[in-house]
Symmetry: C2
Subunit: 340 residues, 2 copies
């Protein structure tokens, strides 16, 4: 049963992908090669996809985080992906505080109470950054750019980073915070996230369906493929303390593109005319939110650890098609989680 690894939000898209990858290859934790995972504990409000639910080395703990913690045992590593997403945290402030702030603190307290400090990989978000209305548009984000979060979700994630850093400094946990980019292309259905279109304008036309793009064709956006996002999470768990370095959160690499370039890539990969199924609508509300996020990242710290963005959006579409095909909506992504 060793190593045992827990994933909060383990029923979601990223959590399930991470679980599959952990179960498929030997793992390295904090610089030590540990071999095959003994048990993956998936914590979520919803059950994981069927392949994981029935996997002999998977244990599922259903419930909200604070209820679930007593049942997770003493994992050597915890990937903390669970949280209330941006739209919901903005709509219901108290829910966001309770889940994203109190939930993270409860997780850290649980980890602190373990006999040995576990590795804790905290999934933060590029939403810690935003264009401060009193200052102006955010430019290129560097490793030491000051976050000025412009949403409750971003604030709660940034606070989570600080808690992870101090619990680590105190020796209560071995924490690493990584800031995830918008993940595209995601399988499944559209959702309420402002970033949802970044998957939808590829996924739906591939399946012969119409999709709306609510932002201008030439708006720069930063995104990361599911595969590169997993690379970042796994690297955070694998690195030894010295290699990982600062307790300050690490920005993961991003590919900067535009919806127009994404549409052109779609036509190159899936055939000319595929992108005709994209309706170029205009939604100032969505454009306002997406436009406040940083679109350009310079990530030397992540690159020193061997992490990098995909070279082109064409590659991201090809990987999506290889993993999910073109027509089927992934039945395993049954819950309506937002990206951020």
């Amino acid at each position: 049963m060793t190593p045992r690894i827990a994933i909060t939000g383990g029923g979601g898209f990223i959590g399930a992908m991470l679980a599959r990858r952990l179960l498929s290859e030997p793992v390295t934790l904090g610089g030590d090669r540990r071999g095959d995972v003994g048990e993956v504990v998936l914590i979520d409000l919803v059950p994981p996809p069927a392949d994981l639910a029935s996997h002999p080395r998977v244990r599922t703990v259903l419930g909200n985080l604070e209820e679930a913690l007593p049942d997770i045992g003493t994992p050597e590593a915890i990937f903390h992906l669970a949280g209330v997403v941006s739209g919901a945290a903005e709509k219901d402030f108290d829910l966001g505080m309770r889940t994203n702030l109190d939930g993270t603190r409860a997780l850290l307290e649980h980890a602190r109470a373990q006999p040995a400090p576990p590795l804790v990989v905290f999934s933060s978000s590029l939403a810690v950054f935003g264009s401060d209305p009193a200052i102006g548009p955010i430019g290129t984000v560097d490793d030491d750019t000051l976050p000025r979060p412009q949403s409750s979700y971003g604030v709660q994630k940034f606070i989570g980073e600080q808690l992870v850093a101090d619990y680590t400094r105190k020796g209560f946990v071995r924490g690493r915070s990584v800031r995830l980019m918008t993940v595209a292309v995601r399988p499944g259905k559209p959702n309420a996230a402002a970033s949802s279109f970044m998957s939808g304008i590829i996924r739906e036309p591939l399946a012969g369906m119409r999709a709306q793009c609510p932002v201008p064709r030439d708006m720069p956006i930063a995104l990361s493929s599911p595969r590169r996002t997993l690379d970042g999470l796994l690297c955070a768990a694998a690195a030894d303390d010295t290699t990982w370095g600062s307790r300050t959160a690490m920005n993961l690499p991003a590919l900067t593109t535009t919806p127009g370039e994404m549409a052109a890539a779609l036509d190159r990969v899936a055939g000319a005319g595929t992108s005709d199924l994209i309706e170029w609508t205009d939604d100032p509300a969505v454009a306002g939110i997406v436009g406040s996020w940083p679109a350009r990242f310079h990530t030397p710290r992540a690159e020193r650890l061997g992490l990098h963005a995909e070279d082109s959006f064409d590659d991201i579409i090809r990987a999506y098609v290889a993993d999910h095909g073109t027509t089927a909506r992934d039945s395993t992504d049954h819950n309506e989680k937002e990206n951020r």
Copy 2:
């Protein structure tokens, strides 16, 4: 009774000075000239100095913050100075989290429940900055330098800033966070703060007593006089929202000096040989803490609001002597609060 202004930590040195100044001059709050203060509510674990305790426009609420909040009424402005100081927050992690994080959150929730959003001036600290051991010494701190706090106190203050910013963005309060420098020269007794010597090496020799300096003569340090510190807090309350600008915390101006320069200033102001009473000892633990703090600040944002540091440490000593004399330890500073 209007305006009513509350001060948490109102029994401490800065809190009491702030109360006296609020009672002595017409106040401006959020851009509106409001005239004389109707009531100052002092919240602290300890009673305020006698002159304030007996003042007809002062009301004292004794107790810890969360106990006291129901009794503070609906102030139009709240100065949140209360907190567990650096040494105590480092020694007792849970106490620091409870007081500095949960206490600040409780205050913000209390303010949010008021009929109109009050001004909340949050006293943060230069302790949000620190030299990251994985990166190296912190250089000059600018308005957009990324804090990498290296103490629980610094983390808790930085989290408080984030909460104040988001409660403000949501319209729950009108918050302003200011990062205070080490305040010197403080009256009263030495205390356990690593920064205590920055007052002691002036205050004690002025009173004919020996004092120890635990850091090298040439170590650069940043500090602010009590008067300039009050200027910063009052400016934060007085500015209208547009003038105040970003919800990101504002660094207050600092005077960069060294213990050696401070000793020379002491001799100039109080007579040659006064600084002979300083014993230049070496305490690597104190030097390590103090040396991890930033010593140089570039504060254009504060300067645009008319704030500035004292021109010289000589002026700070003269102001101290004018306010407190040379011999008496200020009997009003009866509690053992640290500086930070």
